[in-house]
């Protein structure tokens, strides 16, 4: 039975629960918007990285180079799109 619950994945799960609870503090504690957003950005991206490495085994195959490159490229283009859109549609829209 024990072999079905590998330490790495159990620890990963516990850590992801902790991250979620930290994120929830934003709701339950009183904090400024800037602090809250910082907490959320940190917990969300850590959580995503955790899933990617611990659960999705992104680094285990012979194609890890292509996989990581693809994800990095995707995340960069995604962030450029989100912030570029905000820039053009809200912050810089007269």
């Amino acid at each position: 039975m024990k072999e079905l619950f590998p330490r790495k994945q159990v620890m990963g799960f516990v850590f992801s629960l902790v991250l979620t609870i930290v994120a929830l503090l934003v709701y339950f504690l009183d904090m400024s918007f800037a602090v809250g957003m910082t907490v959320l950005l940190l917990t969300a991206f850590t959580q995503a990285g955790l899933q990617l490495i611990v659960f999705m085994h992104a680094g285990e195959s012979e194609d890890r180079g292509s996989i990581y490159l693809n994800i990095y490229y995707g995340v960069i283009i995604a962030l450029l799109t989100v912030f570029g859109t905000l820039l053009a549609m809200i912050w810089g829209y007269v």
Binding site: Y73, G84, Y93, V94
Partner: protein, 649 residues
């Protein structure tokens, strides 16, 4: 009868009724012809169910040529209408419809299909592979594109054409101002075709990354394969944006959503934003394969290897990132402040740098080369000056302050046609002529080909240069007519003459295909151009399995090395070859997508639900299916190779 009213054309005209009759007659003729010659079985077995990348490439090619003429007919009508001031050949509604369908058909259904045609046929051969990574998905891509194109093209006889421009900006494209189902066709047909394109993107990235011949490192890939890799990368990251934008537009139009409306918080500018987040990378999706084709053709006919291979690769990689950060330049005048416009102005001008590097590399490849002037080479040489003019005027448009003068004028129309025609159309025609012998086993006639080139290149200049002038004089694009006092008449008349030359050029291409099919020699070698990359190393016609023995590569021009430096390209003996099975599911599933699209366009919900269930059933079938392909035994490989003229070294 109320149910059928929705299929009526809102703005009928004799031309449209004539088209209906023509379409009906063509369909009857096709069905009768195939039945009479008893070719249904052949059609189904060899084409509709095929998963062979070469045949899929050919089907893309035929579709692209058909769409070229469909879009070209629109173009001629447009230029004819504006050739004279106060012309009444077309009314404003009809004019709106044809400039909308001209844009969509040419970009989505002609240029994209042409690129897919050449990528499909050439890339697996160039990297020494047996097929693409997912042959079944490749067939699905083609059929989704095909049925999407069909859905879009029936719009002008059933329910009415889209008429809000190829960009379909909201609120014009919203229900309030576009009441016919035309814009529904736009939203849904492009969605279906776009799905196919996305699948191709994934398929080719994996093919190129994982299926290259042994020894072909990334930096030893032929330049066309490099450009295909980067193009598909851009496809994978750009097309989902279009998917979302179209879905939001569909929700607005069919379900009363409030994304792009002018009430309840809707934001019409968000459509323009999302459209161009996809739209600008799309420009590079079109142009990069063209760059790849020129990078194959110029070294072949200059008898020199490509100058600056590494800088060529670096520049397309740079373009793949930069192409995603310039989109706002399409709407500098539509509400952003000076800060945003400056940022996007700078990124826009920056993208001219890698493009410039490529131009210089081609020029340096030509420098001191032993140039032979063939038709593909003519197109490549014609491309450089015309494209540079188009590109430089693009930098002018990219300066946001100056753009207030050029925006939405004929100047812009001149710019992007002078980029897209030499950049995409010339490249595709060059590639078509270049790879034609590999595809069909005979060469296209050079004399007629040269005539086509001169007609098309001079026609392009005559048609589009005058628009720079009329645009700077203030002629807005998409105007269906203008008064004589504006003085635009003369420039538009010259454009019309150019358009006729272009049309004549395309007709000579069709004549060339006909003439060469009848009279060209079938006795050509498998390498008629004395070329440099792997696709010329196998037989003509290419056997199903492409290469009997997997080629061994140790340079970026392995085939050239095998011809000149004694490199042994095909070591070892024949082995059993594993091949994928044909399947009818991609065709059937895409046809159901067509039904779903049709049902959504006309809000026939029951049919839509049935079609969705059909698609679901196809997916379920695929999940449970066990298909391990089949094997070609060694004897059969040997036999085929001997029939095709002996084993390859």
């Amino acid at each position: 009868m109320d149910f059928f009213d929705r299929f009526a054309i809102p703005h009928p005209s004799p031309v449209i009724y004539a088209s209906m009759v023509a379409i009906a007659l063509t369909l009857v003729a096709i069905v009768a012809g195939v039945t009479y010659t008893k070719k249904w079985g052949y059609l189904w077995r060899e084409w509709l169910t095929t998963v062979d990348h070469k045949r899929i490439g050919m089907m893309y090619l035929i579709s692209a040529l058909l769409m070229l003429f469909r879009g070209g007919a629109d173009a001629i009508m447009m230029r004819a209408q504006t050739a004279l001031p106060e012309n009444t050949l077309l009314d404003s509604q009809h004019y709106n419809e044809i400039f909308t369908t001209h844009g969509v058909v040419m970009i989505i259904f002609m240029a994209m299909a042409f690129i897919m045609a050449l990528m499909n046929f050439v890339v697996p051969l160039q990297i020494g592979a047996r097929d693409v990574a997912f042959p079944r998905l490749n067939a699905l891509s083609f059929w989704l594109y095909f049925w999407g194109a069909m859905l879009f093209n029936i719009s002008f006889v059933i329910g009415g054409s889209p008429d809000a421009g190829w960009t379909s900006y909201f609120p014009l494209a919203g229900n309030e101002f576009s009441q016919s189902v035309g814009t529904n066709y736009y939203m849904i047909a492009i969605q279906i075709a776009g799905l196919g394109t996305l699948i191709t993107g994934i398929n080719f990235i994996v093919t190129i990354l994982k299926m290259r011949a042994p020894g072909m490192k990334l930096m030893k890939m032929p330049m066309f394969t490099w450009s295909a890799l980067i193009t598909n990368l851009i496809i994978v990251f750009a097309f989902p944006v279009l998917t979302v934008a179209l879905a939001m537009g569909t929700i607005d139009r069919l379900f009363g959503g409030n994304f792009f409306t002018t009430t309840d918080g809707g934001m019409d500018m968000l459509w323009a934003n999302l459209f161009w987040v996809w739209g600008h990378p799309e420009v590079y999706i079109l142009i990069l394969p063209a760059f790849g084709i020129y990078s194959e053709i110029i070294p072949t006919f200059a008898r020199r290897n490509l100058y600056g291979y590494k800088s060529m690769v670096a520049s397309i990689v740079l373009i793949s990132v930069l192409s995603f950060v310039v989109w706002v330049h399409h709407f500098f005048t539509m509400g952003q402040g000076a800060m945003v416009n400056s940022i996007f102005s700078i990124t826009t001008m920056a993208i001219a740098i890698p493009t410039g590097i490529k131009i210089f590399n081609w020029l340096f490849t030509l420098w001191k080369g032993k140039i032979t002037i063939t038709v593909p080479m003519l197109y490549s040489l014609g491309f450089i000056p015309i494209f540079t003019i188009g590109g430089v005027t693009g930098v002018m448009l990219g300066m946001s302050a100056a753009d207030y003068q050029y925006h939405n004028t004929m100047f812009l129309v001149a710019h992007f046609h002078l980029v897209i025609i030499p950049g995409v159309v010339f490249a595709m025609l060059a590639g078509l002529t270049y790879w034609w012998p590999k595809m069909f086993g005979f060469m296209l006639n050079e004399r007629i080909g040269k005539l086509s080139f001169w007609l098309i290149s001079i026609g392009t200049c005559v048609a589009f240069f005058p628009m720079f002038i009329s645009g700077l004089d203030g002629q807005a694009r998409r105007m269906y007519t203008y008064s004589e006092a504006t003085g635009f008449g003369i420039w538009n008349m010259i454009s019309f003459v150019g358009a006729i030359m272009l049309a004549a050029g395309f007709v000579t291409i069709v004549y060339n295909i006909y003439y060469s099919t009848r009279y060209a020699s079938r006795d050509i070698s498998s390498d008629p151009w004395d070329a440099r990359s792997l696709e010329w190393a196998t037989h003509t016609p290419v056997p199903d399995y492409n290469f009997a023995i997997t080629p061994q590569v140790n340079s970026s021009e392995a085939f050239w090395d095998s011809k000149k430096n004694g490199h042994k390209l095909f070591p070892g003996n024949y082995k059993e070859i594993h091949m994928p099975n044909n399947s009818g599911v991609p065709f059937i599933m895409s046809a159901i997508f067509f039904v779903l699209g049709f049902a959504l366009v006309f809000s026939i919900w029951i049919l839509a639900v049935i079609a969705l269930l059909g698609i679901f059933a196809c997916l379920a079938h695929r999940s449970f299916e066990q298909d391990h392909g089949y094997h070609i035994p060694v004897e059969e490989v040997k036999e085929t190779e001997e029939k095709l003229g002996g084993a390859r070294q």
